[in-house]
């Protein structure tokens, strides 16, 4: 059984596991780490025909936000098919902090 994702999830549990695996495929290119391990995913809600994903970024000044949003959109469409519409919202509150990094990300970034 997959461990629970490190963000609040609402919806069908089986679909949640597929969404989590998909979000793990979205990589921050500068860091070579995925957005779930970086703690950038704030929440996912799977409804009828739509998946709402709330994310943040480490910097509001970073143009790569657009790239990450587009990647989430295309990866979810590829995984779930065109019948499901991903809706990605970028939020700045609460602000991201390093406490959101996963243990694997900390290890990769030499925290230990």
């Amino acid at each position: 059984m997959n461990p629970a994702p490190p963000y609040p999830y609402e919806g069908d549990p089986a679909l949640g596991a597929r969404v989590a695996a998909t979000l793990h495929r979205v990589i921050d290119p500068e860091l070579a780490l995925d957005i779930v391990e970086l703690g950038l995913v704030y929440g996912v809600r799977a409804g009828a025909g739509a998946i709402d994903v709330r994310i943040t970024m480490t910097s509001a000044a970073c143009p790569v936000t657009e790239h990450i949003v587009a990647e989430i959109d295309s990866e979810l469409r590829r995984e779930l098919g065109e019948g499901v519409t991903p809706r990605v919202e970028v939020v700045w509150d609460p602000p991201w902090g390093p406490e959101r990094l996963s243990d694997r990300a900390r290890h990769a970034l030499d925290w230990d």
Partner: protein, 358 residues
């Protein structure tokens, strides 16, 4: 909007081309572009870097009005080249003010040290341009380089939050930034003291980045992240060289060539080479797949600086050879970007690991 972004990118590229040609003329190349030679510094700092930095900020902010900043900065230098200084000058001042406004809007979205520092960097650009237009280029350059250096430092500072932070990092960074701006300002009253302080601050920034930046970790990664990390570390080495040469300018003016170009080409262009494969596709909304060949133009850039500096200032033929190699490095990099942006990625490149080993 994408067409407008690409047009602004091309406007910046036009200034880059003119700036490179102007630089070659200054080194003695027989190219008939006297206006570009006269405006070499303004073309590179405002026309090219000011335009692409403002464009990057506008994309991050996502507000249409913010695109007026890259338009103003690029257009200002095109007008200057076309022999219309009266139309160019107000735009040269307007561009940093618009970038400042965009940076403040971002700081309001996320109030943090790095977002505030980006606004301070835009202010330094405005100060530099005002001094340049006042006929004081020797005072303008420290402010223009403060703009570039602080913009880069702010972006790197933000990423240090991902590393285990050491207590001294924050206070040391504040000292470095204040010394840099202090050195630029002090130059107006005591040029020698200001020059030394500015140079020492650049060396200190290089040491800070070497100690605290995550590039040391990411340099070990595979693919693009590893490439970017390694290129950043090379840039930090040139930043230290530039700082030492800048401080040395106070006593030996022949070091000015090393100071300016180790900083502009060695440090700033390394940052561009490191990040353009990531930022250009975002701005132009295209897919780009990283290719290891990106290391080659970087190696040519480093070699070109060694050729330019190694023989000393009294050997203009070597400096010109270095200049041609700078141009070759930039042309090769642009060609690699175009190749990486147009080639069809192999199927297995789409299979990404969950957590790539660093």
């Amino acid at each position: 909007m994408i067409a407008a972004r690409v047009a602004l990118l091309l406007l910046g590229a036009t200034c880059l081309l003119a700036g490179v040609l102007g630089g070659l003329v200054r080194l003695g190349a027989p190219i008939p572009v006297p206006a570009a030679a006269a405006a070499h510094g303004a073309l590179m700092v405002g026309g090219f870097l000011g335009t692409v930095i403002s464009l990057e900020r506008a994309v991050a902010l996502g507000s249409r009005w913010a695109y007026a900043a890259p338009l103003a900065s690029g257009l200002a230098l095109v007008l200057a080249l076309a022999g219309a200084p009266r139309a160019s000058a107000p735009l040269m001042l307007l561009a940093p003010v618009l970038l400042l406004a965009a940076s403040i809007a971002i700081a309001r979205r996320q109030l943090a040290t790095h977002t505030v520092l980006l606004a301070v960097a835009a202010l330094a650009w405005a100060a530099g341009s005002a001094l340049y237009l006042s006929g004081l280029p020797h005072l303008a350059y420290p402010f223009w380089f403060s703009f570039l250096t602080l913009t880069i430092a702010a972006e790197r500072l933000e990423l240090t939050r991902l590393a285990k932070r050491r207590e001294a990092a924050g206070p040391l960074f504040a000292v470095v930034v204040l010394s840099l701006l202090g050195g630029a300002a002090l130059g107006a009253y005591d040029l020698r003291a200001g020059t030394v302080l500015f140079g020492v601050a650049l060396v200190a920034l290089a040491l800070w980045l070497a100690a605290f930046d995550i590039a040391r970790r990411t340099a070990r990664a595979a693919g693009f992240a590893g490439y970017a990390g390694r290129v950043l570390l090379g840039g930090y080495a040139w930043l230290a060289v530039a700082g030492a040469a800048w401080a040395g300018c106070a006593f030996d003016p022949s070091l000015r060539d090393v100071a300016l170009h180790a900083l502009a080409l060695g440090f700033v262009f390394s940052m561009i080479f490191a990040h353009a494969p990531l930022i250009v596709p975002v701005v132009a909304k295209i897919r780009m797949s990283y290719v290891p060949f990106f290391h080659v133009p970087v190696a040519v850039l480093h070699a070109s600086l060694l050729v330019r500096f190694a023989a000393g200032y009294e050997h203009p033929a070597w400096r010109l050879a270095g200049g041609y190699l700078h141009a070759a490095a930039i042309a090769l990099f642009v060609a690699t970007l175009i190749y990486a942006g147009t080639r069809r990625p192999a199927v297995d490149e789409r299979q990404r690991p969950r957590v790539p080993a660093l």
